[in-house]
Amino acid sequence: MGPLINNNLISQNTNFFLAFLVGIGFGFVLEVSGFSSSRKLAGVFYGYDTVVLKVFFTAAIVAMVGLLFMSLFNWIDLDLVYINPTYLWSTIIGGAIMGAGFITGGFCPGTGFCAASIGKIDAIFFIGGLFLGILIFAEAYPMLEPLYKGSFKGSPTLPQALGLKDGVVVLGIIFVALGMFWAGEWAERKFPREEY
């Protein structure tokens, strides 16, 4: 009966070991799907390559469907699954900064490390910038704290916000995702780029 950690079915060390394996698997899939190319990531913004969108949305809907089925089979207690708390202002501002870094750098943090590990120089600079950003944030934290912790909303989920059953929301997101895949493929045909 999951989650494994909350119910003490595995030790903290086993947890770290599993996280290590999952992390390696994640990095491997990122690299295999071509995410270590900054052009591929920037492609989402220009519409010539939407594989990032497709991979992440596929992961999301597979995970959603899987978790809900596991909950139905009593394999996991969804109330114990950690949900990132929402701080509205840091989400909005952080999201904008992350998006800007994404489009200028051509990586998100995970793919940045992925690309650095295969020796891409731009990725190494990207990671340097990442640490610089962390340093600035840490130094300015006393000033930023009210903003960082502003407008705390708890850990709301879409079904709670919409007042719908989990399954209905999942079905809706599946249709949204499939619609986005279709729109993505349309964009790829519309804005093709020969070589990148």
Partner: protein
């Protein structure tokens, strides 16, 4: 057909099933009887009257006394600052934020310890932390804190010190006689945000 069509044809029916079946709301017991027995044997669920008296006297904000007796009994007498959650209504949603939190120590008490232990066991099974039981219940409280008996003069110093403390606490808490409750309703505790579950490393791409 392209594989993506197959995948779409697979995931849509799964989504339809999820939308159609009722959500699973059962929460299987998280604590095995073995774990519970170990916990009970260790006696870790108890706060002694002295500890509680100390916290009340020093106005420790981390203490929340929870009276699990009926409303009538609560109104006749309750410990200072205690709130009333009758055992029969323990599982109602309105109390969840009080019982499921990680800011304060909830100490259940009843006349003896049967009801308070039942409350403790229920919350323990639900996986709530920070709930405790007043050792010996109100009866023992009255005996030790309200009407402490002086130890013989040959007792070790600790016993004398304990007695002195109890005498002081008794005076501070209006002891000697069983005190009348000053307020009829529970004080408004500040709203507690739902308990965040264990921090984990955040995800992201």
């Amino acid at each position: 057909m392209k594989p993506r069509i197959y995948l779409a044809l697979l995931i849509i029916p799964l989504g339809l099933i999820l939308a159609a079946v009722p959500a699973n709301t059962t929460h299987p017991y998280k604590l095995s009887p073995q774990d519970l027995l170990e916990y009970v044997n260790s006696g870790m669920q108890y706060f002694t009257p002295d500890e509680v008296a100390q916290m009340i006297v020093s106005k420790d904000p981390s203490l929340v006394l929870i009276d699990v007796r009926s409303e009538d009994e609560y109104e006749k007498f309750h410990l200072p600052g205690a709130i009333n959650i009758p055992l029969s209504s323990l599982l109602e949603d309105q109390w969840k934020d009080y019982l499921h939190q990680d800011l304060r120590y909830n100490v259940f008490y009843s006349n003896g310890t049967v009801n308070s232990n039942e409350a403790w066991m229920l919350t323990r099974q639900l996986g709530y932390e920070n709930n405790y039981v007043l050792q010996g219940g109100l009866n023992y409280w009255v005996e030790t804190i309200m009407n402490p008996t002086a130890p013989p003069s040959t007792s070790p110093d600790e016993e004398i010190a304990k007695y002195d403390f109890r005498k002081g606490a008794s005076q501070a808490l209006g002891g000697g006689a069983v005190m009348e409750s000053s307020s009829q309703t529970a004080p408004d505790l500040p709203k507690i945000a739902p308990r965040p579950t264990k921090k984990k490393v955040d995800g992201g791409c």
